[in-house]
Symmetry: C2
Subunit: 367 residues, 2 copies
Amino acid sequence: MAKASHTRGTYNFSAGPAVLPEEVLREAQEALWDLDATGIGVLEHSHRGGAIDSVFAETEASCRRLAGIPDDYRVLFLQGGASLQFAMLPANFLADDGCADYLETGSWSKKAISEARHYGDVHVAASSADANFTYIPRAADIVYSERPSYVHVTSNNTIFGTQWSAEPPLPDGAWLACDASSDIFSRPLDMRRYGIVYAGAQKNLGPAGVTLVILREDLLERAVRELPTLLGYGIHAKNDSRYNTPPVFGIFVMGRVFQWLERQGGLEAMAQANEAKARLVYDAIDASPFFRGTAREDSRSLMNLTFRAPSEALEATFVADARKAGLDGLKGHRSVGGMRASLYNAFPDEGCEALVSFMREFESRHG
Amino acid sequence: MAKASHTRGTYNFSAGPAVLPEEVLREAQEALWDLDATGIGVLEHSHRGGAIDSVFAETEASCRRLAGIPDDYRVLFLQGGASLQFAMLPANFLADDGCADYLETGSWSKKAISEARHYGDVHVAASSADANFTYIPRAADIVYSERPSYVHVTSNNTIFGTQWSAEPPLPDGAWLACDASSDIFSRPLDMRRYGIVYAGAQKNLGPAGVTLVILREDLLERAVRELPTLLGYGIHAKNDSRYNTPPVFGIFVMGRVFQWLERQGGLEAMAQANEAKARLVYDAIDASPFFRGTAREDSRSLMNLTFRAPSEALEATFVADARKAGLDGLKGHRSVGGMRASLYNAFPDEGCEALVSFMREFESRHG
């Protein structure tokens, strides 16, 4: 089973930017000084030269192998994070008189919805706002509009600790757009079910500053309006993500992360490893009268585990003491409170064991 | 005088991404593994945590000291390169019924003009297109429109090897916007003469994927239209460049480059060093009947030195032989042809000497 190595002293539970594979960090250190024995570092090569051609080709090839991306999908490396995708998606595909359907499951969904409203109508086809986004709507509760331009889903909700266990059902003829920033490549991805999947790299893929966008090629013909050049998917596709200077270092690191994932056994192996890691911590939460999870059990995220202690004062103590014990980044988002343990692909098993031990010890002291 | 160290085997004349100070690369290698003894690398820290707070604060403080940026100017770290600024500038400040004046001195100016036309009228106040952009227009040849929304200049033209030796004169009440991507901080900058200066980092400042934007604070009140969130300067200023996840690594490296520039003696010292480096190569060009510069002498760039040999075949041989001799990236842009030596801040003196020796030796073999 996939297993991330851990030799540094601190366990990094950060929700993003987040822990990366140590092997990849070592490769990045070398490449900063000298990429592939060229005598020039990865930050310093022309983005149109042969050395960077190879970086692009290897990153894309590894991404395609890893996720089984069909040939009629394009793989793009962009800037601006998921936040810019919130605007690019409707800018390209939601006409002034069109309507796009959004599944509202948290803060990031809400931001995506708000950007889409700059461009056309938005229909919220389902929402868990009624219970502070503690659950994922059931298929039966989704009510789509007639002929939506597309359906948008946030596959994992970093802040609220919920995750879609499978794609939502779609109305006939619609295509699915997915913000997968916080769970991409944590499990197999059936690209055929999507028109577009996008993800800011800084959780499961690499450093902040590069966005992975995978989209079905025929959509490029369906752009609905003239746009500032950089906001069109078409220009980036036509120029193989090098219309303007791309974020080369982020793409390099992402490529090495893809290769690391391949060496770990690929996405099936990652799914098993991620389930085992999350299970360990959820079991500890459920076994304890002291801690309680904040997400509904059927909606729990395997990436971001949100839980509370009996009081805010105890939570503050928990986070501070954990940091002293080498468990960093456990403070929950202010909109949920409490604690959040983010267990992305590169987070090591031992870190989960260390967290569970710390929880038990904390409970025995304060429970 | 400022002097970049050089211990790697290859001299990197790339026009961008380009050579960075070796000391900074060493610092970046360390930080990848462990930032400031936190046990967590610079790519892996939350962008809202204390360690990254310090990176932001130090980067901005060093930038302000280095360039003497007045308190009523904001320093922003954005994504999308100068290419996105080409759109953001008019999107924020050129009303539908307004007119902005552009000084057209090369390919990048043309792209900036083309983006601005999405938003309002553009008046080309001067152009050197009549002679393939081989010169910088004289002040007397600039004809402004009445009350332009702003005046835009490209301070250095990477492709054509020309550079404004000083700011253009402005009409009363107008403010200057400057794309300084390829010469920022290569010489002192009198910010008071500008409303906005922007620069993609990948030539003089750091890695590709981060854009430095310095703008006068009062302009933030003058935005002319509603925009997708990430295209407004206001949202980035209000959130201290952290509305969404910023390109942390690029900002970190840029900060270390600023500190390196301070250690070199600051921008006056860089200007002297850059002049001396360029002088060495231009003198070699001018002393030779074999080579000829492509830019008019009064318009020559100190950053990108463009020159030709007697035939395209000889130029191809020159570039190929130079690479074998450890002088990389000397091929000129296709729109000028020939050779281009880019001598940014971090390019070492010895590289200029090596180039001049190589030129003499090449001429004696082929002249």
